[in-house]
């Protein structure tokens, strides 16, 4: 009871790499993965850059032995989730209990879109096989079944903060003794549904995004999947390995301002960061690096920046938005950035905020612009904020 949660393994697939090592290499090499659409078939192919995973559905299927007709989100999820287990050396639960808590925002929407082409004209048309995995929970179960995890399965969906919430759900279950291993994270493939949705909000940048820049124009969407295998002390002993880091604090707060927009003062962001610090028992000065939510929209970056100023003034930690590499991976983003936060601790490296040129005039700080190695990175704060005012902050600490 009251066990801490240790990060025993990680797996990731994103626009900047098909595995953990290549993600780290791209981060250090300052190589973004955002560009012209290759796999997604959309009318916006030539005007909206995206952060696609550089593999077709057929290639993803071949890497897993699964059918290429499954939702792309499930294929991405399988790869990253399996890699996290392999990385930790987890083979089976043994006498211990393992859970899979995954996040996504639109389930098997890529297939539902195909179904609707015919179904919208004729309700008896469209292949049912294309909607059978529409539900968010169905994606999680495809992966859980493939991995053989049955003790506990759950799916979290709170828009762009989804996988941050999945991560601390797992941490809370380990703390209470309900689980010894929690495979936590999230996934989302690019879909026309989300691309067009964000496009109607007029917050997509037609060029590569510039988070926290005075001249930012919006976000780029991305896709990916990332998972962390959290282990209790007992679980870690069974694995017989050291952990990368531990989860020191987490908090969720609601902005309660607007369905999509953040409050100008960043109330929700402020409360989430403050709550995570309190839970960890840290002061602002204990944080060495902030992995920003940093979408690159006018609204998010000023709200998040204002909240950071309020909480950290006058001494600001180093910070950056790695969405400048991957694009905004929605339901995966909290987990993608959790993996990057742990990589920062593990390697003593702080990743830059790409394409930054001009500091925001309202803020007394600016993000890191080159890759910094040999840094003292003990505690990292990772922010994830979503629609519905859903604000989550996680703190990872050296184990």
């Amino acid at each position: 009871m009251n066990s801490q949660s240790f990060v025993a393994g990680m797996g990731i697939v994103s626009a900047i790499g098909n595995d953990l090592q290549s993600n780290y290499q791209s981060l250090c090499d300052e190589k973004a993965g955002i560009g012209e659409m290759v796999w997604l078939q959309s009318a916006h192919k030539n005007d909206l850059p995206v952060g696609e995973v550089k593999r077709s559905n057929e290639q993803l299927a071949a890497a897993t032995g699964l059918s290429s007709r499954l939702p792309r989100t499930a294929l991405l999820s399988c790869i990253a989730a399996r890699d996290a287990l392999l990385d930790a050396g987890w083979e089976k639960s043994g006498p211990l209990r393992t859970g899979f808590i995954s996040a996504n925002t639109v389930g098997g929407m890529d297939k539902t879109e195909n179904f609707f082409k015919l179904f919208s004209k004729d309700k008896s048309a469209g292949k049912l096989a294309d909607v059978v995995h529409h539900e968010c929970g169905s994606i999680t179960e495809l992966v859980a079944d493939w991995l053989g995890i049955r003790h506990f399965v759950s799916t979290v969906s709170t828009a762009c903060s989804s996988s941050a919430n999945a991560i601390f759900t797992g941490a809370r279950m380990i703390r209470s003794g309900l689980l010894d291993f929690a495979l936590v994270g999230g996934c989302d493939a690019l879909t026309r549904f989300t691309l067009n949705g964000f496009n109607t909000l007029m917050i997509l940048d037609k060029e590569l995004c510039k988070p926290f820049d005075e001249n930012r124009r919006g976000l780029n969407l991305g896709e990916g999947a990332a998972y962390l295998l959290l282990a209790s002390e007992k679980g870690l002993q069974q694995l017989g390995r050291k952990s990368y880091a531990r989860i020191a604090g987490y908090a969720n707060a609601n902005d309660a301002f607007h369905q999509t927009a953040s409050s100008p003062e960043g109330t929700g962001s402020f409360l989430a960061m403050k709550g995570a610090l309190e839970k960890a028992g840290y002061g602002p000065a204990d944080i060495d690096y902030i992995n920003l939510h940093g979408t690159g929209t006018q609204n998010n970056d000023i709200a998040e920046g204002t909240a950071i100023r309020l909480l950290f003034d006058p001494a600001f930690p180093k910070m950056s938005s790695t969405k400048s590499y991957t694009g905004h991976t929605l339901g995966a983003s909290g987990a993608v950035e959790a993996v990057y936060s742990v990589l920062a601790i593990q390697n003593g490296t702080i990743f830059p905020n790409l394409r930054f040129t001009t500091a925001m005039k309202e803020l007394p700080f600016q993000p890191v612009t080159t890759c910094l190695k040999n840094q003292r990175v003990r505690n990292v704060l990772s922010n994830s904020f979503g629609f519905g005012g859903n604000c989550s902050s996680l703190i990872f600490s050296a184990a």
Partner: protein, 341 residues
């Protein structure tokens, strides 16, 4: 730790917002879907805001507000919502326009209300509640996993927790699920019917003024190896709460009216539930993945009122302990134990 159900707010195909009416008259349907009896929403929310809300959001918000009013609580320590399908009406609307107009001429309203956490977010917005807010979307475990989280939050000193299950029937959902052969055919008297509902509860480690019941325990069982393995799991579940099957006064079962789906429920009635008073809760709310929210509401009301609605049979009083067995197609099983205060 004891978890009290301090209050409820429920919108269902029955008159569940009006206790007097619920106890005196039931609602039945000859269709193969069972839609909610909806209230006049302006009693809950400003009419300008109602117009902007989709039906699932209205139902969710009205059930949540009723729950909080009944407990005289204005600002819960956490809000948890559970939905298997999410906001289908807005999802379908946006999808349909997108494919018909080939990704042009779209407006953002339906998209921004299509996210699964819209109900939880709208409740927070109305209450100006900055506290913890999470949404679980795991098929027929959505509500169960939200309940588990509510207990963990209470153990961490966060509470009271407003937890609710919401799912809606839309024309598209019904058309698609009917094609899977899920519901009874027209003119058939047996077979299952689609359902929907919004069931909210205020969970607390303190009893408050006038609690309905104590929620004791919950267990989920994902894809049991065979139907027979469910029986020992139920017996263990009862045992770990210091009870035996003899102590269970009522079992709420997941019978749907579909002979194929109900085969194993029938077996349980002949074995471990033999001789027990039992009632098929889906006959009142229809079949949907978060119907266990309705079952928990029904159990809490029976324990509190210690009387049965005049129009149903098979329940004997007094009742002290109720076991809910919720399952969906042998994939998701859950057992919920709830007792009188």
């Amino acid at each position: 730790m004891k978890v009290y159900i301090r209050s409820t707010g429920n919108i269902s195909p029955q008159h569940s917002l009006d206790m007097d009416l619920f106890f005196s008259s039931g609602v039945t349907t000859t269709e193969n879907f069972f839609k909610c009896v909806e209230p006049a929403y302006d009693a809950f929310v400003d009419s300008k805001m109602i117009r902007r809300m989709s039906r699932i959001v209205r139902m969710g918000v009205a059930a949540a507000m009723t729950c909080l009013r009944n407990a005289l609580t204005e600002n819960p320590g956490a809000i948890l919502t559970a939905t298997a399908y999410g906001c289908l009406e807005d999802t379908s609307f946006f999808l349909r326009r997108m494919v018909e107009f080939e990704e042009t001429l779209l407006s953002p309203t339906a998209f921004i209300q299509s996210t699964h956490n819209t109900v939880g977010a709208q409740i927070a917005l109305l209450l100006k509640c900055h506290h913890y807010n999470n949404t679980i979307v795991h098929r027929a475990f959505s509500f169960e996993n939200a309940l588990t989280e509510s207990r963990l939050l209470l153990q961490d000193g966060i509470g009271p927790v407003l937890v609710g299950a919401i799912d809606e029937i839309t024309d598209d959902r019904h058309a698609i699920l009917s094609r899977f052969g899920l519901y009874r055919k027209p003119n058939h008297s047996s077979g299952n019917i689609a359902g929907e509902g919004a069931s909210f509860f205020l969970m607390d480690s303190q009893p408050g003024g006038n609690p309905l019941a104590v929620w004791r325990d919950l267990q989920t069982l994902y894809k049991p190896e065979n139907p027979e393995s469910v029986q020992p799991e139920i017996l263990n579940f009862v045992k770990r709460n210091g009870l035996t099957m003899d102590d269970i006064d009522l079992v709420l079962t997941s019978h749907t009216g579909n002979a194929r789906l109900d085969e194993h429920d029938d077996q349980l009635l002949e074995t471990i539930f033999h001789g027990k008073p039992h009632f098929p809760f889906k006959s009142l709310c229809g079949d949907y993945p978060t119907a266990s929210g309705f079952a928990l509401w029904l159990a809490a009301v029976l324990l509190k009122e210690q009387k049965k609605p005049s129009w149903i049979s098979g329940i004997l009083f007094p009742v002290r302990h109720i076991l809910i067995h919720h399952h969906s197609e042998q994939i998701h099983h859950s057992f919920i134990l709830i007792s009188a205060v």
